[in-house]
Symmetry: C2
Subunit: 266 residues, 2 copies
């Protein structure tokens, strides 16, 4: 049913190594970006500096013009930052389409321990986007993006805080909108993969343990602040932590073909 | 005793926002790089492409010339990749000091849930290095770096695999050595921080739960491959997973001032 939208393959985003692990599907790429807590964003500071810069940022895919657009459809990438940071100044001063940036997200799902160092690997999911960043000036779009980004850290958190932001808060926060030009993703799952010369060598196979160590991000029990006045940790927080833990732990195991029994998921 | 070496502050690596969170100490920065499973490496593909590139890579700090150098001393950053990848080709073709790159590492240690979206934050550790990358051509240095990087994924794994790499393996793998020019780190720990206008507002404090959700990377029970012939998971693997889990979980809690009781650490 329906079609799968893919990003155009250009030389800048085409995967040349382990091509079977590559994806250009919007949905797969957007999902990796959206489920990554810290994005790495690269830009060039200027002609006098030979080094590209990388900064960690929080961001999320979304469409202000078509808010009902789903994860498989064309979306912009919204990034959150401070008003006078270098990337914001560069985006403000940029000519033409905006500041050319690269957004990257990667997560490790497991250590692949094979017979030889060369066949060692990770199970992982990674994605990059190239695009032009501009500062959002429309107040309604900015507020919408602030809510989108806050809720990406913890679903429904926005409505459970003191909102809307006041004038000072609105002016100290800047939102970048990245119009995406291309993107690609790479996903490695499965188990160990060795070469015949090694798995047919008994001296080696009798000595070297091979397998996968699953890796995932865990959310611990919420720790109330000393000033907190709400007696119980609300369900939207505990529920989020529990379901994320199930999902993360489940994915790291499913990537190796292991389905966790229900009781072990909690 | 002794002195703390710091990276020089240049405009490219100087932290201007939340300066009290910044560090230029070699030891702090190198530790963040070394304990991060995937580094994000940025470079410029060439004059025809406006976008910087970011690729996920595995790497480690080390000194081939002074192997006894500790984490607080000047070290190079060694990165591991495939022979014909774009970054390796660019490094090989680079003129002068090498290919200018940026190496970044970030990890999230907790969600800071404050009264207002603006005061939300993460506990986190992040670091960047700027430097010139060159392909390692000396065979002894290359082999040394391959062992360094393999053991960074799992301590002592190198000696428990089929080594040394054969000729084909040596030529398909390329190691980049990055001579570091500058670096900086940023560490946020602690709890919630709100403004008086909000924490003195009872309507807000009675309604909004505030606190920290600790976050850490968990290593699961090792899953043997179908071809594995070693009956028991070796101690160096189970011991690594257990001690990393303790360390990661412990750090995420200590960042909020919570010391876990011994029995809860396992």
């Amino acid at each position: 049913m329906g079609r799968t939208l893919t990003y155009p393959k250009r030389s800048a985003n085409t995967v040349n190594r382990y091509k079977h692990r590559a994806t250009y599907d919007l949905g797969a790429i957007h999902s990796i970006i959206n489920s990554t807590q810290v994005l790495h964003v690269s830009f060039n500071p200027g002609p006098e500096d030979p080094f590209p810069a990388i900064i960690p940022m929080i961001g999320q895919m979304g469409s202000f013009d078509y808010p009902s657009a789903d994860i498989n459809e064309p979306l912009d990438c919204y990034l959150h930052g401070y008003v006078s940071s270098r990337i914001m100044n560069l985006a403000r001063e940029s000519q033409g389409q905006g500041l050319p940036i690269c957004v990257a997200a990667s997560k490790v799902d497991g250590l692949i321990l094979s017979l030889t160092p060369n066949s060692h690997s990770y199970n992982y999911r990674s994605a990059i986007l190239h695009g032009y960043a501009n500062v959002v000036t429309d107040e309604a779009e900015k507020l919408w993006a602030m809510e989108l980004i806050t809720n990406s850290v913890l679903p429904d958190r926005w409505n459970h805080t003191r909102v809307p932001p006041d004038r000072a808060e609105m002016s100290s926060t800047v939102i970048l909108r990245v119009r995406v030009v291309d993107g690609s993703g790479k996903i490695r799952d499965g188990g160990v993969s060795d070469e015949k010369k090694d798995y047919s060598n008994e001296e080696v196979t009798n000595r070297v343990w091979t397998g996968v160590v699953p890796v995932w991000e865990t959310f611990g029990a919420p720790i109330p602040s000393s000033d907190n006045k709400v007696a119980e940790v609300p369900d939207y927080i505990t529920g989020f932590a529990a379901s994320k833990n199930d999902q993360n732990r489940g994915y790291a195991h499913e990537a190796v073909g292991v389905t966790l029994p229900k009781e072990e998921q909690h």
